[in-house]
Point group: C3
Chain length 298, copies 3
C-alpha cells in the first residue's frame, strides 16, 4: 500500500473538465502536426486516434528525415515498442533536434526493464529532456531504477509489454524520476497517476477491456503529444491526454461486445467527444497527502 | 481560381459508370496480383482494401525479393509514406524491374516537398516511368517543381502528409508533370482531378470524413494499381480507382458515426459495390476548356 | 484426388471439443507471453487476436533483443511475411535461442516457393526444429520440396501469398515434411489438415469470407503458438488453434456484411468463445485410411 504526499494544488484549474475541453478544442482548431517514431504494431491505430481528435499525425522514422521533421512538428512522440538500431539512431537524432528547436516531446519506454538493449536506449533518450514520460507501472519502476544507476535496472520491469505492477506501486518512483529528469511522468493503471515530482494527479477514466486491445497505452502517449502541442503546461497536457483516452475507452466499452468493436468505437468516441461529455464524466482526482491509493481502485 | 483547357473527349466511354463497373468485374474475375512497397502505417488497410475489391495483394519489400516479385506481379504500387534507405533501394530495384518486365506501376509521393530525402527518391523513381502518379495538391505541386528543377522544389509542399493545397490549385502542375513524364497524374481533393497532360477528368465521389481516417489516399493509389492490372488505359484505370474509393467512402460515411466505423464500413462497401450502385452514384465530371474548378466544390 | 492412410487414434481425446475448451481456459488463466517476429501487415491484427483469446503478445524483432526475449517467452511465432535480411537474422537468433531454452515455436513460411530469398531462410529455420509449421497448400508443397532437395523447390508454390493448391493436394507432402522434421504440419484450407507424420486430423471450421481479410492465416499461426504455450502436445495444440480461428471466423461471418466487419467481429468472437459454443460447433474430423479428402469439402 503506497502512502505519499502531494500538494493540494493538484486540484488546480488545469485539472478541471473545462480545461480538458479547452485543450481538445485547441487541438481541433489548430490540427497540430504530431511527429511519431513509434512501433510497427500501432502505427495505424495511433495515426487514426490522432486524426480522430483533430490532430495531424505523421510517421517519419528515417535517420535522413527525422531531425528535419522534428523541427517543423508541433510535438514529437517517441515509442520504443519495436526497437531496432536504425530506429534507435533515428530517435536520438529526432529527440536532439526537438530539444534544440523547442518542439515538446514525449517518451513511451515500452517494455523497458524487460530487455537490455532498449533499456540503454531509453536512458540515453532521457538526456534529451522529454517534457513527458508515460509508461505502465513496471516500465516506470524500471526506468527510474535504470536512470538512477546508469543501466542497472534491467530485470526490475515486467516480462513483456504488460505491467506486472499497478500504478500505485510506481508512484514514488515516478516522483523521483520526474524530480531527477524534469519530465512529467504519467503512470497508466486502473487509476492513472501523473506527477511533476511535487504534485500527483489521478485520472480514473478508462475501462478494463481496454487492456485487451493492443497499443492503447501507445495511443495515450500520442494523445498526450497532441495536447502538449497546444498546452505548454506538461502536467496539464498529460492529465488531459489521459482523460481523453480513458473517457473515449469508457464510452466505447459501453457500445462494444469485445475488443474488436472496442477498438473501432474508441476512434468514433474520440471524434465525438464534446464539452457536455467531458463535463459529465471527467474523473480527475487530486491525490492528497496520506492518501492510500489502493482505495482509489474501489 | 484555376482556369485551363481540356479536351472534350474526357467524357469518353472510358469515363462512364459502365466502364468503372467493367473494370471492377475484371478485378474480381482475375484477382490480379498487386505488389505493394508501401509505408508501415497502411500495410494492413491497403491489403484489406485490395482484398475487398477482389485483388490479391502482397507486400514484398526486401531488396533481395522485389525485382523477382515485380516481374510476376500484375501491377506494382510504390508509396513513399515511411521512407528508409533500405526501402528506397528496394523501390528503385522494383520500379526498374517492373518497367523492364512491362508490369504497370503507380507512384504515391507521400509528403514529397515537405522533406528533402524523399524528394530526391521521388524524382529518381520518376525515371522508371510510372504509368500513374497519385498525390494530394501539395504533393503534386512539389513533385512537378522538383522534377522540373532537378531537386529544387523542397519547401513547395505541405508540412506533413496532409495537403495545404486544393486539387484545383495543382491541376496545371499536374498537366505539366503528366506531359513531362508520360504518366497519368491524379490529384486527390474535394474534386479529384486526373490528367494525361491533355485531358482532365474530375471525380466528385468521396466524403469529408475520409480525411479523418489514415491512409485513404494510399488506398486510392493501391486501387488504381488494381485497376491498372486489368485496364491498360492508365487514364481510365486512374479514374476508375478514384471512383471506387470515393464511392465506397460515401457509402461508408452514410453508415458511420465516426472515423472508426468509417474505416470498417469502407471495406464492406468495397466488397459490396455493384453495377447498380456504380450506375446510380458515379460522379465523373468532364472538365471543359475554361471551367472554373472552384465551382466544382459547391 | 488424394488418398492416404492415417491412424484412427486421430480421433483421440486431444481432438475433442472439450480439449479445445480446456486449452482456451488455460490460455485465459495463464496469459502466456507470445513472442512474435512477424510481418508488418499483420502486427496489429495478430497482437489483437492474441489479446482477444487471453494471451500476452509482444512483437520483438531486433537482433539485439530477440534471443533474450525468446528465452523468457512461453512460445515463439516466426512469420516470413515481409522478410528483410535484418528480420531474417533476428529470426535465426530467436529460433536458436528458443530451441536451446525449450521455448516451443511455430513457423509460418508465408509465400515460400514463390520467392527465392525467403525460401532459403525458411529451409534454414527448419534446422532449429520448430514444433509446428503452418501454411497453405502451396506453401507446404514448396517447403517440403525445398527441404527435400536443399533449395530446389522454388517455383513449386503459389504466385504470392494466396494458395494455388487446396489443402488436400498438400497432405502427402505435409506428412513427409512432418516425418522429416519432427514438426507437426498444419495445412490451411477449406478443410484444415494437421499431421504429425502418422496421424492426420481435419478441421472444418471456418468461412470463405475469411480469405478476403488479410493475415488470418498469420493469426491462425499465432493462435497455435498460444495453444502450444499451454498444451505441450503439438498436434493437439495445432488442432485447437485451427478450431479457435475457424470457429471465431464462422461466428464473425454470421454477423458481418463484408470483410471490414468480419475483421472486427472476429476479435469479438475470440473474446466471447465459450465452452457451449465450442461443444456445439467444433468440427474436428478424423481422417481415416482411404478417405477421399475431396469429399470433405462438400
Amino acid at each position: 500500500m503506497a502512502i505519499f504526499s502531494a500538494a493540494s494544488s493538484a486540484a488546480s484549474s488545469a485539472a478541471s473538465p473545462g480545461a480538458v475541453a479547452a485543450t481538445l478544442r485547441r487541438v481541433r482548431e489548430r490540427a497540430p502536426l504530431i511527429h511519431n517514431i513509434t512501433n510497427v504494431v500501432v502505427t495505424n491505430s495511433t495515426a487514426n486516434a490522432l486524426l480522430a481528435i483533430g490532430a495531424s499525425p505523421a510517421m517519419v522514422e528515417a535517420a535522413e528525415e527525422v531531425a528535419e521533421f522534428a523541427r517543423i512538428a508541433d510535438a514529437l512522440v517517441i515509442n520504443l515498442g519495436t526497437m531496432t538500431p536504425a530506429r534507435g539512431h533515428a530517435m536520438d537524432l529526432a529527440a536532439a533536434a526537438a530539444r534544440e528547436a523547442g518542439t515538446p516531446w514525449v517518451l513511451d519506454p515500452v517494455a523497458v526493464g524487460a530487455l537490455s538493449y532498449r533499456s540503454q536506449v531509453a536512458v540515453g533518450l532521457l538526456a534529451h529532456a522529454p517534457q513527458v514520460v508515460r509508461g505502465n507501472g513496471s516500465e516506470i519502476l524500471a526506468l527510474e531504477a535504470l536512470s538512477a544507476t546508469d543501466g542497472d535496472g534491467v530485470g526490475v520491469g515486467g516480462r513483456g509489454v504488460d505491467s506486472a505492477h499497478g500504478s500505485e506501486l510506481a508512484v514514488e518512483a515516478a516522483m523521483r524520476l520526474a524530480a531527477r529528469t524534469g519530465a512529467v511522468v504519467a503512470v497508466s493503471g486502473a487509476t492513472d497517476l501523473i506527477t511533476d515530482g511535487c504534485q500527483v494527479v489521478g485520472v480514473r477514466n478508462g475501462h478494463p477491456m481496454m487492456q485487451r486491445v493492443t497499443g492503447l497505452g501507445c495511443t495515450a502517449t500520442a494523445l498526450i503529444g497532441a495536447c502538449l502541442a497546444v498546452e505548454p503546461d506538461a502536467l496539464a497536457a498529460s492529465v488531459h491526454g489521459m482523460v481523453l483516452i480513458g473517457l473515449a475507452g469508457e464510452l466505447a466499452a459501453e457500445r462494444s461486445r469485445g475488443p474488436g468493436s472496442l477498438q473501432m468505437e474508441l476512434l468514433d468516441a474520440l471524434y465525438q467527444l464534446d464539452d457536455a461529455m467531458l463535463t459529465a464524466r471527467t474523473m480527475i482526482v487530486p491525490v492528497m497527502p496520506g492518501d492510500q491509493l489502493i482505495n482509489l481502485h474501489s
